[in-house]
């Protein structure tokens, strides 16, 4: 693995573009800023074309002989199927408003990471092969031939976009790089170019059930372990259903939440909350993954994975579905799920069994975000919360890209946080809500070999955390996304040591007072609560 320069070195960012026109500057694929090529086995499992062994560093990517033809055919197909794609190819005026809005450009300075230019990489091909002006005037009309170098350049930069949509907020025509990146990655897949991190996750999700490759029994085993932990800490043992028919609610979380810390604490948080409520719910070893890794690079693969959720809800005969804290998952549930795999007419319009609240806003998808669910509980006074149990946590809140810009989910998590802890501070205005910055590792880019890019892309977020860390002593970055929880610990350690990462429901469970619980001296991570901190020190 490439060693990442120290923060003081990495922050020396040269963002002045070269003098030569961009078409003359061949992409240099720099170690530490790309992800490894996908192994053939995943492509075989998933019926992707051209499984083969190849490496990004190879000169010859071992492409199919007629790759150009395939690629252009796929291009034309997308132009005919997606109005967004065709329009975004046609209407950009290159005003540059998006240029310094991309976290990869801010943290890396590579001009081809200005969203406008990243899109031009595709547009130049569009013009050359699909417009009269481009065919006639070639380069003068901003057109260029599709060559292997161009293909490699596309690979490099389409995998330096995390589909966060921040550029589309600032674009006067709403041009959305995320849309072009997904479609561009589809084009790359059509000639057998995929990255291992995504394809391994997708392949595992598809057959075993989740991106970590845990089959149903292993998932159940993990959950049992969490139940033990919960019991040790709180004296309360959760009792989740597993593939249980006839439960009222199917609960689907991102598998990141039962894979690694700090997501696991969040999963324990869900379990404790449900136990507190006596919720009639079940987990599933088939619909075991909320996070949709397929969607990172393909609409079709997104649909194939997302299918499992409704399919399982139907099989188990539940009334509605509750979804955990996850970013891309909620973009998919909000903007694609019903279109892909609906109508979910076999489910009922979700009603909270505790408060009786009808979730009218999910009347079609029949799927409720756990933060709405919990916010509603708090609003109705159904939770006995002791905020002081989170006094050792001084959180800020990171709006994850997709819930922010593909959903508009800002208030619910904030409402919860403010009701479960005493010291909440917002990051600066230009870095939150719809203007939030990506964690730097979204859309399948959180591969270890990609660490330098991730640290660069995470700079704007980390720098805003640094601000509240210095000013208010913020020591936790809270979020409602499993990718965030997976990648922020490394990002914080790199840029802002001393800041931990937490999910929202971990804090809910910390504050939740159970009837008949054992005296709580620690939080879910076995860290002493504030009032017991001195005691702990004495024992030491």
């Amino acid at each position: 693995m490439a060693s990442v320069p120290k923060p003081v070195e990495l922050i020396q960012i040269e963002s002045k573009p070269p003098d030569r026109p961009w078409m003359d500057n061949k992409a240099v694929l720099k170690e530490g800023t790309y992800c490894n090529a996908a192994l053939p086995k995943w492509l075989e499992i998933l019926d992707y074309p051209y499984p083969r062994r190849w490496s990004v560093t190879d000169d010859d990517w071992n492409l199919p002989e007629n790759w150009k033809e395939i690629f252009l055919k796929a291009f034309e197909d997308r132009l005919n199927r997606f109005r967004s794609f065709r329009l975004f190819m046609d209407v950009c005026v290159r005003c540059g408003a998006c240029a310094d809005k991309c976290h990869y450009f801010i943290g890396g300075g590579d001009p081809k990471n200005m969203p406008v230019l990243r899109a031009e990489l595709l547009r130049s091909i569009y013009r050359r092969y699909f417009t009269t002006a481009g065919k006639m005037f070639g380069r003068l009309a901003g057109a260029r031939d599709l060559t292997e170098d161009v293909l490699k350049e596309l690979f490099y930069y389409l995998y330096q976009c995390s589909e966060c949509r921040r550029c589309s907020v600032f674009c006067p025509y709403g041009i959305d790089m995320a849309e072009m990146t997904i479609l561009g990655r589809e084009l790359l897949s059509s000639v057998g170019i995929n990255i291992e991190w995504i394809m391994a996750s997708v392949g595992s999700c598809y057959t075993t059930g989740s991106h970590i490759g845990a089959p149903p029994h292993a998932f159940k085993d993990t959950v049992d372990f969490f139940c033990d932990e919960c019991e040790d800490i709180t004296g309360i043992r959760p009792n989740p259903g597993f593939n249980r028919k006839g439960a009222e609610i199917l609960f689907v979380a991102p598998s990141g939440d039962y894979f690694a810390d700090p997501g696991t604490y969040n999963f324990m948080g869900y379990l404790l909350l449900f136990e507190y409520l006596g919720l009639d719910y079940t987990l599933s070893g088939y619909a075991a993954e909320g996070g949709n890794f397929g969607y990172f690079g393909s609409h079709e693969m997104g649909k194939r994975l997302n299918y499992k959720i409704y399919s399982e809800a139907r099989r188990l005969g539940v009334k509605w579905i509750l979804g955990g804290e996850c970013g891309h998952m909620w973009r998919v549930i909000n903007q694609y799920m019903d279109t892909w795999n609906g109508p979910a007419d076999f489910l009922e319009e979700p009603v909270s069994p505790i408060t009786g609240t009808k979730f009218e806003n999910s009347a079609a998808t029949k799927m409720v975000h756990i933060c709405e669910f919990t916010a509603d509980l708090i609003k109705h006074g159904k939770l006995h919360l002791d905020k002081s149990r989170n006094d050792h946590i001084i959180p800020t809140f990171h709006d994850s890209c997709n819930p922010a810009r593909a959903f508009g989910f800002f208030e619910e998590p904030r409402y919860i946080i403010q009701n479960v802890c005493n010291n909440f501070y917002e990051m600066p205005r230009d870095t939150i809500r719809e203007q939030t910055f990506c964690c730097g590792s979204g859309s399948g880019l959180n591969a270890d070999e990609n660490l330098e890019l991730r640290m660069r892309g995470g700079l704007p977020r980390a720098n805003a955390v640094r601000y509240v860390h210095e000013k208010y002593g913020v020591n936790h970055l809270s979020c409602i996304c499993a990718v965030d929880r997976a990648v922020f610990p490394a990002l914080m350690e790199y840029w802002v040591p001393g800041v931990d990462v937490t999910g929202v429901h971990e804090m809910v469970a910390n504050a939740l007072v159970f009837p008949g619980e054992t005296e709580r001296k620690t939080d879910l991570r076995l860290r002493p609560l504030k009032e017991f901190e001195s005691e702990e020190t004495d024992e030491d």
Binding site: I13, V91, K101, L117, D221, A364, F409, E411
Partner: protein, 352 residues
Amino acid sequence: MGCGYMGFSSAYYVSLFAVVILLFIPYLGVKVGLEVLFGIIVPYLAFITFFTGVIRRILTWARTPVPYRIPTTCGQNKTLPWVKRTIRDKFENPESVWYVIGRMFMEVFFFRSLFRNMRMELRPWQKYPEGGKLIYWSNKWLWIGALAFHYMFLVVLLRHLRLFMETSPSWVNFIERIDGFFILYSPTVYFSGIILVVSTVYLLLRRMYDTKVRYISLASDYFPLFLILGIGITGIIMRYFFRVDMVAVKELTLGLATFHPVIPDGIGVLFYIHLFLVCILFAYFPFSKLMHMPGVFFSVTRNMTANNRWVRHVNPWEYTPKLFSYMEQEDLYRKQMKKAGIPLEKDIDIEE
């Protein structure tokens, strides 16, 4: 490729050169008596090209399906009734068609998204261990420049309507009166033309001297700017410096509009140059980025309702791909699942 002293790309020079050539074509043409070509044929051809081209492109967009409903949400989604939503949230995360119309209105008439623009700066900051701090400045210059450019273009265009009508409608007169109100001079000075030229120069200079924008600029970015600059400047010269015979000009333009084209005597060559550049702009429009004008109305991230969770969106070409069913998974892991006490569809006995 040839880069000039300032590092301008060939795109810049080629565009400038193209517009200079375009200035000379009608000049030479009129010199050799081709007034009919430049006063009648070219305008009609340009007009036809403009309309057929724009309509064709719009039809292409309109015919392309919108498979998914993907608005970019810039405000709080409609959710539980007690969750706070400001009026801004309602427009920027529109739950109904009315709010979408509002959002589009703000986008089209006030360039809402461009108004958000800001400038990022990375400053050395010794108080932070990593030694740098990102600062975001409000930056409205592009917004102001773009707004000035587009509105003044519109005013100029509307003012020209008088040339195509026997008696100009009162609202055109009204626009003229406002437009000419601020600068007292004879002939009446219209500020719209002046601001149009000034804002075009701003957009051009920005493209030339902002290194980032220069790097992304193509010939098709410089060309329309030079062209519009040419149109503006020839127009201003004609009006204030070397006046053309307006009565004759109106005879010609009215002739075009009423399909009884005539070439009156005594129109200066400057007019033909001005007209030719306008024709080029119209003919060029449908094949260029200028299509952002009709295009903005088609932008799916702006013109769609954010109501996905309660109103189903249907994709006309949705198909069923290969799927992996629950039973396939159970078949893979039945034994282990049984051991783990997970209920099965097809139960089995396992030997202890």
